[in-house]
Symmetry: C2
Subunit: 355 residues, 2 copies
């Protein structure tokens, strides 16, 4: 890693003034996903009391490719993360030396050993006074809805799905997020795989006929359900399967019973994931009525025409937890990560001064 640390990537620093006062300090938030990686730079010196500035004084934003170590390998993932940080600092006319805190929220962090490995590597890049945090990418998504506060539950449903929650005193819990093999049926992949399965079943006589057959074959340019087998296994990318969700939604809107059943099942699965987290953390309190933020993120939960999966999930949860307060984030997860880094920094500074 030293190849980059004192090598070409950090060379621009010699051309910018070193950060020598508090005002020039910055925090970095990184959202490292499977499709792309975004790094956002915020000033460390935002008001510590009262509401955050609106809009946030975002200094810069940089984008790179995939940084999920499960997808591209550790070396490539780290190189991408390092490059995106360098670019964000450069665009902010800031420098490595000005960094006071970094929050790296990255998919594929499922276990403390994953977390520690990445922390060790970050520590190798930044000096010891820099605060470093490594989180699952869903934590940044939660923070993007709560503006940096780790409280409540986030439900992400895009290609994959996960529910992740925090109590105000720092306990955390998750549900789902285990991928297609391990039954994430509420995800975009899960919904589309069920639809493809329904087409195969209708074709070979194991299931009822469905409009999904015509609608899916049309969109894929195939002439027979037999050809779906070859199509499915020609490319094992989950996102390619998940891209069929809009066809399932439009088929359900057209009144197709099979498509409606799939969507209702997925709504129940997504609500179950949230409720598992809420129950374990007692987010809705003893009487079940405590308020808590419920952050909703991802393509599957965005408003579709008349069949709105996100709304159905919220309705389902609100029946049991009337205090659930749905939030659709106005900032991106990388900003959530930067706000997390900033919040951690403020808390630690307060701690240093005896609070």
């Amino acid at each position: 890693m030293t190849r980059y640390r004192n090598g070409e990537f950090w060379n621009f620093e010699t051309q910018t003034p070193a950060a020598d006062d508090d005002n020039a300090g910055v925090v970095l938030g990184i959202d490292g996903g499977t499709t792309s990686t975004v790094c956002v730079c915020l000033p460390a010196a935002m008001p510590r009391a009262g509401p955050l500035p609106d809009p946030l004084p975002i200094l810069s934003r940089a984008v790179a490719g995939c940084s999920n170590h499960n997808s591209v390998g550790e070396t490539e993932a780290r190189k991408t993360l390092e490059e995106v940080m360098v670019e964000a600092l450069s665009k902010a006319c800031s420098s490595h030396a000005a960094v006071q805190a970094v929050c790296l929220a990255v998919s594929g962090v499922n276990h403390p050993t994953d977390q520690q490995g990445i922390l060790d590597w970050l520590r190798d890049i930044f000096p010891s006074h820099v605060k470093l945090y490594v989180e699952n990418d869903s934590v940044a998504a939660l923070a993007s809805g709560t503006m940096g506060k780790l409280h409540g539950c986030v439900l992400i449903a895009g290609t994959g799905t996960i529910a992740y929650g925090f109590t105000e005193d720092g306990r955390e819990a998750r549900a789902a997020g285990a991928g297609p093999v391990l039954g994430d049926w509420g995800s975009g992949y899960g919904i589309a795989a069920q639809a493809l399965t329904a087409v195969i079943r209708a074709h070979d006589g194991r299931g009822p006929p469905t409009k999904l057959t015509e609608n899916i074959l049309n969109i894929l340019g195939l002439s027979s359900p037999d050809e779906l087998i070859g199509w499915t296994y020609a490319d094992r990318s989950w996102a390619r399967i998940a891209a069929l969700v809009p066809v399932v939604v439009s088929s359900a809107e057209d009144g197709d019973e099979v498509a409606n059943k799939i969507l209702h099942y997925s709504v129940q699965e997504l609500a179950d994931s949230v409720m598992a987290v809420v129950r374990r953390l007692r987010l809705c309190g003893e009487d079940g009525k405590d308020p808590f933020p419920l952050v909703m993120v991802g393509g599957v939960l965005e408003a579709n025409k008349s069949w709105d999966i996100g709304k159905e999930v919220i309705d389902c949860i609100s029946k049991v937890c009337p205090g659930a307060h749905p939030i659709r984030p106005k900032v991106e997860p990388a900003v959530g990560a930067a706000l997390l880094a900033w919040n951690h920094l403020i808390k630690e500074c307060k701690g240093d001064h005896g609070n």
Copy 2:
């Protein structure tokens, strides 16, 4: 392909006498699977009337690696198939020129275009009088139970599952066989994936506790269900997941309700596949009582201790179709393929003589 046809692979032929009479003629049966490829050589001159010799006069058997073109690519698959035929002929002290018919039953043949591609390539190797047949590997499995007769239904349940059937007048139908993404829940992969999902759900509070957790973690040497996510995606081979079926069966035998539910669901799925084929082909006749062979193949259907998936599937089918006659083949699928080649040859010869 000419590299092999007249190249080193066929060179041994110069050392063996050419087949110049009917008695020296042979047929080849090949079972081309994902794990291995088996080629069997039978004499073409077996008695054309009455029962087949018992035991069959198998001249030779050769084994090679994977020949599924979806797994290893077309060039590699063809090379493997060619090598295994050469080896079988060599072991039988026979030759390329003695071959009268070839039946190549290979997994991954799901569509007439797959079939035609392989036929074209076989035709490039053998002269025009040689009868060539390319079938899905499940057809050889059926023939291994019916000793070469294409009638009845075969149910295969190993890592994957498929049901395939033929009427006596040559109509055919299949169900399932579409792979894990497309919902083959009765397969070994399907059973094991459901078990892994149940462990994750119990762990994150979405499902009931189950003995599967302890039993699966023990056998994999993992300490927490969280680690299952990394284990599952470290290697996307379906067979590796399917290898967990015995743990699911033993957990069910120990009385675990979750494991029992998974096995009962899988039995229903497997029976549904057979019944879909039986209904489409009307194999049990108008009154539902006609007899037909039901060939049962694959690790999932072999007798387990007290929980016998194969027996449960047969019970399920027999309730609707009392004429279903279960057969567990005594010969391997490659022999089934060779018998198919031989049967085709006999029929065509009869045709040539005015029958």
